[in-house]
Amino acid sequence: MAKLHVSTTINGEPMEFLCEPGDTMLDALRGPLALTGSKEGCASGDCGACSITLDDRLVCSCLMLAVESEGHEIRTIEGLAHGDKLHPLQQKFLEEAALQCGICTPGMLVASDALLRQNPRPSEEDVRFWLAGNLCRCTGYDKIVRAVLETAAEMREQGTRESRQ
């Protein structure tokens, strides 16, 4: 059967790819698009390792069809850093050792970024509820939650400093 042709935007770049009707967005990212930052953990929406944003809304890429990205904006972990400059969340995850094996990390970062975009001042409870769909089998979560809260605080400070200048 003929493959479907999909035109979409990924991390700000127009992209085209071919897929089968039943392929998930995660299949397309890790296959033809060669963006392997998004991980496949459970492939059933439980673990969050494949988290991306679709039109700025956090979704599991394993729970959407690749063809559904037609005409929409996708952001993945590959779009988080600015060139060689890490996103503050990435930097803080490194400093705080908020990762061990690293499989959950891309999803954690994408989800945390989505949280901070809509809530720059999250409480610890906000962070824990928001990240409830991101499973990690190594860190025990505390270091991740701390890294997100500290990044939020630093980004707020940075924002204030910049707006004063």
Partner: protein, 286 residues
Amino acid sequence: MRYLAPGTLDEAIKAFAAAGSAARILAGGTDLLVQMRSGAVKPGVIVNIKKIAEMTAIEETAGGGFRIGAAVSGAVLGEHPRFGKVWPGVLEAVNLIGSTQVQGRASAGGNLCNGSPAGDSVPAMVAAGAVVTLQGPNGRRELPVEKVPAGPGRTNLLPGEILVNFTLPPRPPGSSDAYLRMIPRTEMDIAVVGVGVSLTLKDGVCTAARVGLGAVAPTVLLVEAAAKALIGSKLDDAALNAAAAACSAACRPIDDKRGTIAYRTKVAGVLLKRTVAIAAKRAGGK
């Protein structure tokens, strides 16, 4: 497998009906993709309904009610400026479906049509008195939401019918609602019991109530006896005990790893009381 994303409801119905039992509707997709992955479902045709404006719209009706498209995601519903103020219980139920990521896609329409007795949005929609609009090859019809589930994984939709939207009625002053569920973990599990309560208070007296009960029978239940026990009372202990007993009496649950029959039956009554207390507080009572 073929994939279709029609722009109008008529096209969707034509394509869906033509493909027969091999066709599957894609709303949020959070159940369908899991079923496809596990091999439980092998669709010949997938009909994505999210390109149909009616399916993704949230409208306030002229009388002060709401009409919610079947494919509106929980995240989109949560961002609506008014919906959560008028129907906080329905919103909290919809926003308990899965994680933040799942909320980005999952819809109340899919939650209902998936036919799970434990679907979180369903008891709250039942309590709200929501009416669904269905459209199929033989036209459009309306059905109270509690008439949709037929059993685990089954609905009363006719062949070729698609769920279009939910209509929630206008609310008199002094009305509110709430939804509570019991799950074994703090987050991210399915309900062992789910209770939705919608009520209206006037001078401290309950003048209207509806109770929806989930995960304790093959389908979500409308518990009219519980509502009857609340209506006319000041939600005093006697009324609450009677309503709780009515909920427990309505239970026909399964025993499983999440809860025994005895546990689910008892919790149904306990949750009823807690849910009434939250709804009453929101409605302006104590």
